[in-house]
Amino acid sequence: MDAAPNTAHHVAYTINGVIRMATIEPWVTLLDLLREEFDLTGTKKGCDHGQCGACTVLINGIRINSCLVLAVSRSGSVVTTIEGIGTPDQLHPLQAAFVKHDALQCGYCTPGQICSAIGLISEGIAKTRDEIREGMSGNLCRCGAYIGIVDAIEEVLAAAPDANSLP
């Protein structure tokens, strides 16, 4: 143990449209890389075991629990975190709908919920309230804002049923 073997890897991603590089150990998760190395703390750690969904981000447009992704395994990917959703001047329709429907209280699960909802909409499977509820059940909310969350997603889905029409 005294002499640390050189196990570090060079990795690069396009995160929110910006190329980010780092040298990391192979056991570092994408979640910890985002939060600790890139200071993208909008992505939350709630369990570190893929049980709560607070760490949900989009990799190449697909929603994923970033705590279950070893960062080295997805080098080269396009990653979207909550910081890359909406613009400083204008909220993404889902962000606006979450505020409008009070789909949050403490706000800790919220970035994961929004990333997950974007992924859900682009999957194109969920059409009804029941399907939204089922498809969003990987994202826990202890404040219990589920009704507002479904209201918000339902509204955005009705206005833009095709995910490609979302910004």
Binding site: R35, K45, C52, G86, F98, D102
Partner: protein, 731 residues
């Protein structure tokens, strides 16, 4: 200001919403400081005993590790236990991590690894070798001895004295029930992990997950004798807490200890499994005996509770408070006891005590209704009381009757067929149940302060150390300030959750809106009169005396004439809890529909109507969310949440959300919240009663009663899991 322009009482969107949906809101673990060290806790694998040896060598050699601390090499802190008392602590000796070689509970911190990065600290923690001398432990409430706590916990109402002769009345009454109800321990599990980031320096800035930055600041100053240093505790955003942040937590103690030992900045994030050993909702065994005459009038109420506590503290909560005051009865006997377990101390969890006690009382009322062959709602109305008989005084307001009326109407209760198993659709049995909820409505016994200042841009800055744990505090305090200052909310800038800001008590007891809100209102009123008198002196009175004087341009002019003097006001809100002529409580009526798969015993809570009387509602939008959220937590209490112990190991078998189930989106169907009108001039200056906890109280009994109605099975243990219901049905 006319009614149309005011914002208090209106559904205003959460002011911190945009920051939260953008991911800009920073929580305790999200302040990235240069040269930050990361800590990880090693926890005890036995429930009781002593540490014989602790081998730190392998962990120390691990690449990146800076230090490993245990009780043997930790820095000095006061060895006097009373110094670690906090505002929310029960009688006893508070637990202090790494104090000595004793192990009080499984999952107790026994060492702390500090490393250059998180992964190294975590991995090295696995290399710490601890040997123990285990002693006989007990974590089984049923197997331990009950006792009456010798010292009462400050702030918890005493158990009401007996009235009449409940034993005799019960013995002679014609119609009665007596049942025993049990509950599993529950954990709070806010989504944010308990975490602390300490920025070490001349000023020690502690970013902490807490419901009281002020009490954490005081605790740290005393514990670590930080002479010559200023301690500032910052909790701008708190990712939920539900009571687990009422007391200074193990995480903040350990993080500051490490920072002091190494004189470096340190972050400690507890993993989810460690959060099972921070505190829990006390499990309890309760026996309720109810007797009635033929008309359903209560003749006797007996309620005995034995609640879990730790070996080192006598945790207490108001489990029986409403058994004496909710229904009219002349013969009441209440017994509240504790039993010591080798666990961490229980910690207040949303409507502590009441949520568990009312499960027993309201289940028993439902059982009695069936003995009487009476509608459960009619039984409650028959025993309705306008006076608090336990204190022999009237309520400051009590619109529970209106809750029953409005709730039952929205639910369609009159269409219910009384017999169990009488409603079904396809493979599912349908059940309708109801229960009453009550919770204390009070101002904080500790004072609250607020400051409001005119900024150079003519906006008002409101500051208070109170936190917003998801409650909507930022929003309602902004509304109160805007209305009092006769302006719009966009001219109010609010800063909270920082111990450097004016003193506020812990955020708990559903008292924040009433207490901190009144302080903000008072500070704003003072500022207005300050502005008027200064305007008089400086001669800017040409603009009139009214709202014109408070316009941004007038205030900017006034500030210029002040030559650097600030325009600000601070107010303190005191509330005296003694000598009150009224009792005050919030009330709720909850109606629940369940659908139970007859073959598989899967329960779905398809509909809940919750009618709430909570005085003045400052913001129906955020208040409704509070009630919905508490209802969801009540569904968890009824059906899911079980911090199950292996009593042989004395260890909680749940480690995360995979085994400690909380409601998911798919578990939550239709929840209809309605606030009934209730005016209360006595309870608080704003007429506010508080909505943080009342929502959870009646949900679990309403669901349990609905399950009885659906299946004919009386489930007297929470949670009512699939296996328990299936087993009951197969008997």
């Amino acid at each position: 200001m006319d009614q149309e322009q005011t914002v208090t009482g209106k559904s205003i969107l959460r002011v911190d919403g945009p920051q939260k949906v953008r991911g800009e809101a920073k929580y305790a673990a999200e302040y990235n400081i240069p040269d930050l060290l990361h800590a990880y806790v090693v926890t005890a694998s036995i429930a009781k005993g002593r540490i014989l040896s602790i081998d730190l060598a392998a962990a120390r050699r691990f690449p990146g590790v800076v230090e490993v601390l245990s009780h043997k090499n930790r820095p000095w802190f006061w060895p006097v236990s009373f110094l670690y008392k906090d505002a929310a602590g029960p009688p006893g000796k508070p637990f202090v991590p790494l104090d000595d070689d004793r192990v009080y509970f499984s999952g107790q911190p026994v060492a702390l690894v500090i490393a250059e990065n998180y992964e190294a600290a975590r991995d090295a923690a696995a290399l710490v070798k601890v040997t123990y001398k285990a002693e006989q432990h007990t974590t089984d409430l049923a197997a331990s001895t009950a006792f009456k706590p010798r010292k009462r916990r400050i702030g918890v109402a005493p158990v009401p004295h007996p009235t009449g002769d409940a034993d005799l009345a019960f013995a002679v009454a014609p119609l009665k029930i007596e049942s025993t109800y049990t509950t599993s321990p529950e954990n709070h599990h806010p989504m944010e992990l308990f975490a602390t980031t300490v920025k070490w320096g001349k000023i020690v800035t502690v970013y902490d997950k807490t419901q009281s930055p002020k009490s954490v600041e005081l605790f740290l100053k005393v514990a670590f004798r930080l002479i010559g240093r200023k301690v500032r505790v910052v909790s701008t955003y708190v990712g939920g807490a539900f009571g687990l942040g009422l007391r200074p937590q193990q995480s903040v103690f350990l993080a500051v200890m490490a920072a002091k030992a190494l004189e470096r900045s340190v972050r400690l994030v507890l993993p989810r499994d460690h959060m099972f050993a921070l505190g829990y909702r006390a499990n309890a065994v309760q026996t309720v005996s109810l007797a009635a005459d033929e008309q359903g009038r209560l003749q006797a109420v007996r309620h005995r509770a034995v609640a879990a506590t730790s070996q080192f503290e006598d945790a207490q909560d108001p489990m029986l408070l409403f058994s004496a005051s909710l229904y009219r009865c002349n013969n009441i006997k209440l017994t509240y006891e504790l039993a010591k377990l080798d666990t961490v101390s229980p910690c207040d969890m949303r409507a502590p005590g009441a949520a568990t006690g009312m499960f027993a009382l309201e289940s028993a009322m439902d059982e009695l209704a069936y003995v009487l062959d009476m509608d459960p709602l009619a039984l409650r109305l028959t025993n309705y009381t306008e006076r608090d008989q336990s204190e022999n005084r009237p309520f400051s307001s009590k619109a529970l009757r209106e809750c029953y009326a409005l709730g039952s109407e929205r639910f369609g209760w009159h269409k219910r067929s009384r017999a169990p198993r009488s409603m079904r659709e396809d493979k599912e049995l349908i059940g309708w149940g109801m229960a009453t909820g009550a919770w204390e409505a009070a101002m904080s016994p500790a004072p609250a302060r607020a400051k409001v200042m005119v900024r150079s841009d003519g906006k008002f800055e409101v500051t208070s150390s109170i936190t917003d744990i998801g409650t909507g505090t930022y929003t309602i305090l902004s509304q109160i300030a805007a209305d009092t200052l006769e302006t719009t909310m966009d001219r109010v800038v609010i800063r909270l959750g920082d111990s450097a800001l004016p003193f506020n008590p812990i955020q708990g007891g559903s008292w924040t809106a009433a207490t901190s809100g009144a302080a903000v209102q008072s500070a704003c009123r003072k500022l207005k009169s300050t502005i008027r008198s200064r305007a008089k002196h400086t001669g800017v009175l040409g603009r009139g005396q009214g709202a014109e004087l408070l316009s941004a341009s007038a205030l900017i002019d006034l500030l210029k004439l002040q030559r650097g003097r600030k325009l600000s006001a601070t107010a303190t809100m005191f509330s005296f809890p003694f000598g009150k002529k009224f009792s005050s409580a919030t009330h709720a009526a909850v109606f629940a529909e369940v659908r139970v798969d007859e073959e598989l015993s899967v329960v779905r809570v398809t509909r809940i109507v919750c009618a709430v009387a909570a005085g003045r509602i400052l913001n129906p939008n955020t208040a409704r969310s509070q009630i919905i959220g508490a209802t969801v937590m009540g569904i968890g209490k009824a059906l899911h949440e079980d911090a199950a112990y292996d009593h042989n190991l004395g260890r909680c078998m749940a480690h995360g959300f995979a085994d400690y189930h909380i409601p998911t989106n798919a578990d939550v169907y239709d929840i209809d919240v309605v606030f009934v009108d209730e005016t209360d001039a006595e309870v608080s200056p704003l007429g506010v009663k508080g909505v943080g906890e009342i929502g959870v109280v009646a949900v679990a009994p309403a669901i349990a009663n609905a399950i009885f109605h659906a299946t004919g099975e009386r489930m007297r243990h929470l949670p009512i899991t699939i296996d328990r219901l299936a087993r009951a049905g197969s008997r």
